[in-house]
Symmetry: C2
Subunit: 333 residues, 2 copies
């Protein structure tokens, strides 16, 4: 069923049908009703592809996520879909499984007029990313990383880690371990580690190589890195840069016959939904991932509508969530 068929059935021209469908232009009430009747009867729905070609607008935004099966990604997506729905937009999603090359491919593919704008939630920003991004003919918003020349939605990694360290120090901790991730991820790998070092320094605590371990984003990695730290020295507290790492670390501590927080306190970052249902409930930083998705989408639409083309760096709020995985220790350690 195409517009022509409807026109024939209703005894009008295709142009009139189009006018009825889009509620613009003049059309006599009588004809309008005739057309509407036919449309209802045959259940006609316009071909969105043809509309997009003609309108040069697909009403679709592309979203590139590193791993869709993570809680972070799905919360961000929820925020994006919410704003998109208000604007009558659909989401085309590319799951890149943490493969850089896939990210580049997705970026290129989506740029072919298929989408009106792109949101990328990146773990790493390479020169290649930049090169491809600069070629884009549609607006791009980045979540989670800084990308020169594009608006970015950022998490306050520096402040959040400082708050966490402050909290630990106030609880009397002086030997604070750290479990991080690869520095290729600039925001999570570098910024959070640097913040940890700065915070130690700020409290006049020494930075000790033996208390630091670098893993990936898995729970298992948290376990392994904790094990490697315990082999060298025993901290009284550990700051893990994600909740999953913290959860793995806690498991490892327990398996070593130690207790959290009695022997070792642990903190994470992110506040996964189950963080407060763990035993002990995990002290962490709540990030408003859904909000970041909403912000990214709003900014993107501003650019699509050419309302505001300047590139911003927007920091999304966070909140320290103090729970039982951190314990005060005696003042004479």
């Amino acid at each position: 069923m195409k517009i022509k068929d409807i026109a024939k059935l209703a005894g009008v021209s295709p142009a009139t049908v189009s006018r009825v469908m889009n509620k613009n232009g003049y059309v006599k009430a009588e004809k309008r009703e005739a057309v509407e009747k036919v449309i209802r009867e045959v259940g006609y729905r316009p071909n969105e592809i043809a509309k997009s070609l003609k309108n040069k607008r697909s009403n679709i935004i592309g979203v590139i996520v590193p791993k869709i099966s993570t809680e972070t990604a799905s919360r961000v997506l929820e925020g994006i879909t919410q704003i998109a729905k208000e604007r009558n937009y659909q989401l085309l999603i590319s799951n890149t499984n943490l493969q850089i090359e896939e990210e580049i491919n997705a970026l290129e593919f989506l740029s072919n007029k298929l989408v009106d704008g792109i949101i990328i939630s990146a773990t790493e920003v390479t020169d290649q990313h930049l090169a491809v991004a600069r070629q884009l003919t549609v607006p791009l918003v980045v979540i989670g990383q800084r990308m020169a020349g594009f608006t970015s939605i950022l998490y306050s990694n520096n402040h959040a880690v400082h708050d966490l360290v402050d909290h630990l120090v106030q609880a009397g901790h002086k030997k604070i371990g750290f479990i991080g991730v690869d520095p290729k991820d600039k925001e999570v790998g570098q910024v959070r580690k640097q913040a940890y070092m700065d915070a130690l320094n700020h409290h006049q605590l020494p930075y000790k190589e033996e208390l630091v371990a670098i893993g990936d984003f898995s729970i298992e990695s948290g376990y392994q890195q904790m094990a490697s730290i315990l082999k060298k020295q025993r901290p009284t507290a550990v700051l893990a840069v994600t909740d999953h790492l913290a959860i793995g670390a806690i498991q490892c501590i327990k398996d070593n016959g130690l207790s959290v927080p009695a022997d070792i306190s642990v903190t994470g970052l992110g506040d996964v939904k189950l963080a407060k249902y763990l035993s002990p409930p995990l002290t962490t930083v709540h990030y408003y991932f859904k909000t970041s998705g909403q912000l990214a989408a709003s900014e993107l639409f501003n650019q699509i509508d050419q309302l505001n083309m300047e590139n911003k760096e927007i920091y999304v709020d966070y909140e320290l969530r103090i729970r039982a995985s951190v314990k005060k220790i005696e003042r004479n350690s």
Copy 2:
């Protein structure tokens, strides 16, 4: 940049450029190279919308999910994306936020030739769903619910619950409570409840209204329903139809000064990623959600390729995960 421009720059006709891009038809090596060179130099990418209109194929599949921010949904999506990627397909995702009306809308919208096929992960199948589904001009695969006339990917809810009850009975439990969800969700609300009743019956245990409570899918609901059961009678074990309900129930039990599993054993269904990191680790049923996504996508592609148009009901595997949240009790209760 369109195909015409490339043609001009390379000194050939648009048709030749098209042939080069799609690697079909004959074209002299020399011209091919010239065209490829221009394409590389200007970074030409074809307009996917125009291709779709011409080819009557968008290489996009639509996916409708009830709530994208759930672990279940994201694991299913991961499976779908994986298969889709192999076929060079993109995903257009509609997040319906558990709103029936949204589901219908999405179904209608996606059917407009925009996508080559649709996968819907439904919580409820109404007559309206059926009516719209029957009008579709593209294939449809359903995940998680039975839908007459369409192929469905189903979870073995009946068997899984039986296994769970068997496990509890073998551990000596006779007063087994139940926390379920609204029967509108046929598979989770009805089938799982019926299986619970059948299993009790099979073990010659009485069904007691006071031990049963119905909530929604949230952790909080698990908490509330557990509280309502405890007010009436105290079971020795509780079967919750999702892990989240189980987690809420455990929290409630703890808050009432009781212990899991010493006082009350608890089981869930689904095996969320953190289930084994809870205290106590949660006994549950592992569902292969990612696999179900893969199966759904494979079946959909079979239908898109018209390889196999028969409607199947495919059950995806499950596995009982016995952990510490269930405790053997003395034989003289």
